[in-house]
Symmetry: C2
Subunit: 366 residues, 2 copies
């Protein structure tokens, strides 16, 4: 679990008590741990370490240190966005969606975050022997419906089966290709001091919806996942101006992780206004109950945008006029102070630092 | 296991004995079974049924009934090949290669089978909690080395972690994009009576190499997997003529499955010459020992080509001059007789039918 790796966790479990103190090393950020922990898949600091220390050197490709969202590749004269994600959400079906919706919307949104118009998807299923074909069909139908809603074609696919006990029903990996319009250059490095920071709607709904039905965590709340395709919203924003600097969909690790990544990639600071961040009351209540911070809860149908201040008002208006952006809000600004750091101005007049989370608060959220 | 679905298996297990005879239906081809069996991932008749009966209707895309190898998509004026595969091979390392090599070469080869020059790959890892980071690193390094050897760039990626007991160490899903040269149109539907059928080298090596180290099946043979990228070989063949009709890499289900799929897609027949098919002695011996047919054993560095007869000799010569084609052989021809059917002329003067296998002879071979 991700919290095995939490730096402020006291060693109070039986397993911890059995550790030989003479050979004990700090378990966080797990650089000396020889095994994979849940946090390596959480989209936070441990995920970043895995990329920087394992994948980027192995692939001999330092640009992969930015192995997030989509890559922009030139091929045959076209500027393509290319992205992939595996989806291992548990349970497979949750209020407002399913693994199939996530697998489409997540990859469509990764493409959209580089300004691309998503065009083609692939789906690769890893099925566990013994899973009901009706479950596979229900997920496949969700994929088909979500692809149609997002305006993309599932062009190719694969299916593998693993023995019972070596999977978890259904894992789906999607990859996607989209076309980046001329003149569009959207990436975390382009954040500039002065940029307005806009979020497209209330945060935390996906994470709380999944948690609400997670085994052992049932706490009936009447909220549903925000899973949705965002390419149409992005197209509407680009009609206002092509000079949008950064787009990001705050999935694993939530808004907190996304803003930290942008601050680090661009060498700027982020300053949020606490009360401007739209947190639905049910999300706030659930987070209070579970001891979670809404800033770190996953979203699957929201984006955060860094927009030059002269365009901020018009972009915000265009977002609010789009079905996926009715709840859009200006939540802060990009600053030259404290580069690489995200701070929140609290309602009491103070500030607090929002650090990059080590892992996901609850794993397998997407 | 795939053999649960074998049509000629007598109901002789305890589980079978417990079936109520009044409600019993034939377990093959499993249309009435409500659950996923290993054979659904085997690349044979059960895989085809899953695509035709579940995925194609769910995606509302009848062209997906041809959900194999790579799709050719038009985007931004470019003709792109796009492909994906999940890799779940067990064990992760085997004589001659690893999961990492397969994950690159398999997708590179799927792109090459439409004549494309592979350019970009994505990798998505699903890691099991507790797997050693050294294992992940070893696989990542194999991915990096194989990508360099194949001349492709790993452009984007993802990592998820699932709880211990819900995975099998490492699963990797790759997707790839390549550019299809002008004037090239390679697909199973283009097979024509008279086409020469050429295989690029000895068959069965990958499957036997993996089986040789599979738990419980150790039988020390000195052979290694044929895993290799084939895009260079295809480029050399296309230099002879762009009018190559069909290319296929006979992976899951082996040469037998690939030829059946081509015969069915094109409405032609395939006639092989038994003794012309290059089966290494060690593969023949291992298959005899295990009761397998080499025609159904997986390959990961071989292709089969359907070539107009006037170009056959020159294409064969070009293949033999390429490092990946030194063992190329003319193994038969495409005929107008028995459309959709593959037959082998035996050394004794008779013929036998090579049917589409139901599933993989041994699962999790790639």
């Amino acid at each position: 679990m991700a919290d095995l790796a939490a730096p402020d966790t006291a060693p109070d479990t039986a397993a911890d008590a059995a550790v030989d103190p003479a050979n004990w090393t700090c378990p966080a950020p797990l650089r000396d741990q020889p095994v994979v922990v849940m946090g390596h898949g959480g989209g936070g600091a441990l995920s970043a370490e895995l990329i920087e220390q394992v994948f980027a050197p192995a692939y001999g490709n330092p640009t992969l240190a930015a192995l997030t969202d989509s890559a922009v590749c030139e091929l045959g004269g076209a500027r393509l966005a290319f992205s992939t994600d595996s989806y291992v959400v548990r349970p497979l079906f949750f209020p407002g969606g399913s693994l199939g919706d996530l697998a489409v919307n997540g990859t469509v949104n990764d493409l959209a975050m580089s300004g691309a118009r998503p065009a083609f998807l692939s789906t690769a299923f890893v099925l566990e022997e013994g899973v009901e074909l009706a479950v596979v069909e229900r997920i496949a139908r969700a994929v088909g419906a979500a692809a149609e809603a997002a305006g993309v074609l599932v062009a190719t696919g694969d299916t593998k089966v693993v023995e019972s006990g070596h999977g978890d029903g259904v894992y789906v990996t999607t990859a996607g290709i989209g076309l980046v319009p001329d003149g569009v250059d959207i990436r975390p490095q382009r954040a500039r001091p002065g940029d307005a920071i806009i979020v497209s709607g209330p945060i935390g709904l996906h994470g709380v919806a999944v948690m609400s039905v997670r085994e052992g965590l049932e706490f009936g709340v009447g909220i549903t996942s925000d899973t949705a395709p965002l390419a149409g919203l992005v197209a509407a924003m680009l009609e206002v101006t092509k000079d949008i600097h950064v787009l990001r969909d705050p999935t694993r690790g939530g808004l907190g992780a996304s803003l930290n990544e942008i601050a680090r990639a661009s060498g700027t600071g982020v300053r949020l206004r606490d009360r401007a961040v739209p947190v639905p009351e049910e999300v706030a209540n659930a987070c209070g109950f579970l001891g979670l911070d809404p800033l770190y809860v996953a979203n699957e149908g929201r984006l955060v945008a860094f927009v030059p201040p002269e365009h901020a008002e018009a972009v915000l208006a265009a977002m609010r006029a789009h079905p996926q952006g009715t709840g859009a809000a200006l939540i802060g600004e990009c600053v030259a102070d404290h580069p690489g750091m995200v701070v929140v101005a609290t309602g009491l007049g103070g500030t607090r630092v929002v650090d990059l989370p080590l892992g996901e608060q609850l794993p397998r959220i997407c």
